[in-house]
């Protein structure tokens, strides 16, 4: 065995430069040969390639020979090799899982690509792409988001095309009668020596289903159908209690969790003093932080389950993907 390894190493030293000039070969090394998906005990020269191509389509110059100096070779499809990039950096093409944002926000996550009227568009949250309702269709979307250094026009990747407005439950009331009554009662309370104060708010509980928006890339070549550290999406499925899920996000990268609650209604804080009620949500354990909003949530088979948008120290709140798709009129 030792001898085999030494022989393979010596051979590698001699042949690696030449092997790396062959089409699609991105790495060469010594390793055990795999036959029919099973590891064997035979040491081989492993050529990693971006894509396995049938011998009939390769010139003899580019083909990896069966053996080199009597040592067998193996071909491993590693895909393209890249230096690992942080999701907060600029990506072209930009995959799911990286920093993105409306030009007036900090930064969120690019979820994934979806189809709207046959066109590829970027899916994320309203509060990521549409500044929590405070945006106009056509506004520039930056990748990375402004907090991560994204600037207009250099990092302008897409234009906002549509968002589902979020209805907030509480806002200071503009009713003068109610305010007068509250002021009067507060004065009485003050006289009686109490610290308690009444505040007039207009409470209108309207249920939201999704925090979602889409943006059209300026150039299709600038976006990628993959999700960082996850790969391509294999359809959609309904989120269920106990389902194992994963996401790739701008702040915490690739994380996994489990759906602990369904049919969740929750009061979600937006900024300092706005609250929105959401219903029919999925709740997973903690698997995200600020900046991960907009991440696509998938099951173990890479099927899209939801759109991450909120969370706490102990929870992650996820819109059901079926609600996102039906309200925006999009498909995978």
């Amino acid at each position: 065995m030792e001898q085999d390894l030494t022989a393979a190493r010596n051979l590698l030293r001699k042949t690696r430069d030449e092997m790396l000039t062959r089409a699609n070969v991105v790495a060469v090394g010594a390793g055990y040969k795999f036959t029919g998906g099973e590891k064997t005990s035979t040491l081989s020269i492993v050529c990693s390639v971006t894509k396995k191509i049938p011998a009939s389509e390769l010139s003899s110059r580019d083909m990896v020979p069966e053996t080199l100096d009597n040592i067998p070779t193996d071909v491993f499809e590693s895909g393209r090799l890249r230096a690992l990039q942080s999701p907060t950096e600029r990506f072209r093409p930009a995959p799911g899982g990286v920093s993105i944002g409306h030009h007036e926000i900090t930064a969120g996550t690019l979820g994934c690509l979806v189809k709207k009227n046959g066109e590829m568009v970027i899916l994320s949250n309203n509060h990521v792409l549409a500044n929590s309702n405070d945006a106009q269709v056509g506004d520039p979307i930056l990748q990375p988001g402004p907090y991560d250094g994204g600037r207009f026009p250099n990092d302008h990747i897409a234009d906002l095309t549509q968002f589902v407005p979020i209805t907030f439950t509480e806002s200071p009331s503009d009713c003068p009668t109610a305010r007068t009554v509250a002021d009067l009662l507060n004065t009485i309370s003050n006289i009686l020596g109490s610290d308690a104060r009444l505040q007039v708010i207009r409470e209108q509980v309207t249920d939201n289903l999704v925090d979602a928006a889409i943006a059209r890339p300026i150039r299709v070549e600038d976006v990628s159908n993959e999700i960082l550290e996850i790969g391509t999406i294999g359809g959609t499925t309904q989120g269920e209690l106990g389902m194992a899920v994963k996401k790739s996000g701008r702040t915490t990268g690739f994380t996994t969790g489990e759906i602990l609650q369904v049919d969740v209604s929750a009061n979600v804080q937006y900024g300092q003093n706005q609250i929105a009620r959401f219903t029919d949500q999925l709740m997973a354990g903690p698997m995200s932080q600020g900046g991960d909003s907009g991440s696509a949530v998938l099951d173990e088979n890479n099927q899209l389950v939801g759109l991450l948008f909120a969370g706490s120290d102990q929870s992650t709140i996820i819109n059901r993907i079926e609600n996102v798709f039906s309200t925006l009129g999009v498909t995978v």
Binding site: S265, V268, R277, G311
Partner: protein
């Protein structure tokens, strides 16, 4: 008038019989019936359906912190479904 009374006498047992036949409300219905009231209680941030430690369906009420006085106000069960209280912390858009 007599005719109507007669009809009523006939209908009543049918209606009550049908009522007895209907299934007891699902946990989703029970949750829906009570969630608005629960979500207006101070520090309640979520109401959802999960499982208790034995794996049985339960209504789970999430609080933004530990508040024994609020927990004391919450029912132990709602129409035969257990109610569990969990501190999830304030839920914020991320």
């Amino acid at each position: 008038m007599k005719y109507w009374l007669l009809l009523l006498c006939l209908l009543l047992p049918i209606v009550s019989f049908c009522k007895g036949e209907t299934m007891s409300p699902s946990i989703q219905e029970i949750k829906k019936r009570h969630e608005n009231r629960l979500l207006t209680l101070p520090s309640v941030v979520s109401v959802g359906i999960g499982r208790d430690k034995d794996g049985n369906p339960a209504i789970i009420v999430g609080l933004d912190g530990s508040h024994p006085e609020i927990e004391a106000q919450l029912p132990g069960s709602l129409e035969n479904y257990p109610v569990l209280v969990e501190v999830v912390g304030p839920i914020k858009a991320q």
